[in-house]
Amino acid sequence: MTRTDEELVARATAGDLESFNQLVARWERPIHALAYRTLGRDEDARDVVQEAFLRAYRGLRGFKGEAKFSSWLYRITLNLCRDWVRCERRAALVQPPEGTDAVDLADERAAPTESVEELVARREMSKAVSRAMAELPEEQRHAILLKEYHGLTFQEIADMLGCPLSTVKTRLYQGLSVLRRRLERQQAEEASLRRATWESSSS
């Protein structure tokens, strides 16, 4: 029988450690994804995952259930990421390493039908999105992360970030608009570069 988050939280609060382990198993991947997209380093993201669940466990008695357990966890994670960047004096969203072997890329295809060219394009886009997101103000970046990758409603985001619903919509709209312009510009630059490379190699 699959228990809901609320049931598991109640049991964990009463001292059932196994219930808390189940909550971790259920939510550690989304928490890792949020931390990674916020910090940009897998190693840091894993540390944040561990710390986030430890904090959650310590704070279980203080969790009154006004919000969803997942929202509560996301808030803990974002706070940790913010502290992480400040304390470690690291730049958030460090770029992934450049240059990847085509053989390695072939092993990472999302589906057997995905060609290596498509995979390269997807990875280029991933880097482009990562760079563009890194340049957004924190509040816009958080709104987009929570909406796009974690499916929270406007109201849940507003409750989590402690701002009005209309503010969330504004941050989302402004953030997406900036991203759109930057991505279009990057794509135009890359197309121009490819064209120049092709012309120089063919002449």
């Binding site: 450690l17 196994e18 808390f20 382990n21 971790v24 198993a25 550690e28 991947r29 890792h32 994804a33 990674y36 997209r37 897998d42 993201a45 894993r46 995952v49 561990q50 669940f53 466990y57 997807r122 886009m125 991933s126 482009a128 999105v129 990562s130 997101m133 987009i144 909406k147 796009e148 990758y149 409603t153 406007f154 919509k169 504004t170 989302l172 709209y173 997406l176 608009s177 991203l179 759109r180 991505l183």
Partner: protein, 235 residues
């Protein structure tokens, strides 16, 4: 610029009530700017899907419920320490119990065992108790003899001439015999009382020692039984 653009967010994410959605849909149908905005927002949302995260393997070490600690899991030194504490507690308890015994009559108190007669060895054995009993009995006999003399000295002797213990007449002889009977009766009663008192003391003391000895034997047996084969004192 169209003022409806920020309202488009609810429309794009399909998170507005049906009436508002209908209003926006009607507006978009006639507003080329908003059509481009919606198209651009949907495109950037598709681009965002390309941002993947590395493979994740759990870094969480699951909490393990605390296991009840068995005394078998304890290191030998801890068992030894517990044994010593138990021994001390047993000794203290025995001494306390002995000290709290009700006071005996004067004769019994005089003959009560003193700590000095307790054997110096660690373990009290039956032979030790026998020796103790013999010493106490001898002491008791001496005490009884002294009491007999004391009683005899204070016994009424109306017809006995201090200067002579030879009956001068049948009447004197009867009185002396009667006096002796009374004296012997008193001595006999005193001796019985003293014997009972000493016996009770001996039984109480012996029981206490027996319990301490049992506890010691149990602890030593446990230590030998669960001692590690290599003789180490810790785990």
């Amino acid at each position: 610029m169209c003022d409806e653009r920020e309202r488009l967010i609810g429309y794009v994410y399909d998170e507005c009530d049906p009436d508002e959605r209908q209003v926006i849909a009607d507006h978009v149908a006639s507003c080329e700017t908003c059509q481009q905005e919606i198209s651009g927002l949907r495109r950037v949302r598709e681009d965002l899907l390309a941002w993947d995260v590395p493979e994740y393997e759990s870094v969480w070490r699951p909490f393990v419920p605390p296991r009840a600690v068995s005394w078998r899991d304890l290191p030998v030194w801890a068992l030894a320490a517990a044994a010593v504490l138990l021994l001390l507690a047993g000794g203290a308890g025995g001494a306390f119990t002995y000290a709290m015994l009700p006071h005996r009559p004067v004769l019994a108190a005089a003959a009560a065992p003193r700590p000095a007669v307790i054997p110096a060895s660690d373990v009290v054995r039956a032979a030790d108790l026998d020796a103790l009993e013999a010493r106490l009995t001898e002491k008791l006999q001496n005490e009884v003899d002294a009491r007999v003399k004391l009683v005899a000295a204070h016994a009424p002797a109306p017809a006995i001439e201090p200067a002579s213990d030879v009956a001068t007449s049948p009447e004197d002889l009867r009185r002396q015999v009667q006096t002796l009977r009374v004296t012997l009766d008193r001595v006999s009663k005193a001796q019985d009382q003293l014997s009972k008192s000493v016996y009770a003391d001996l039984m109480s003391f012996g029981e206490t020692q027996r319990r301490i000895e049992q506890g010691n034997n149990y602890i030593l047996t446990s230590l030998v039984k669960h001692a590690p084969a290599d003789g180490s004192m810790g785990r």
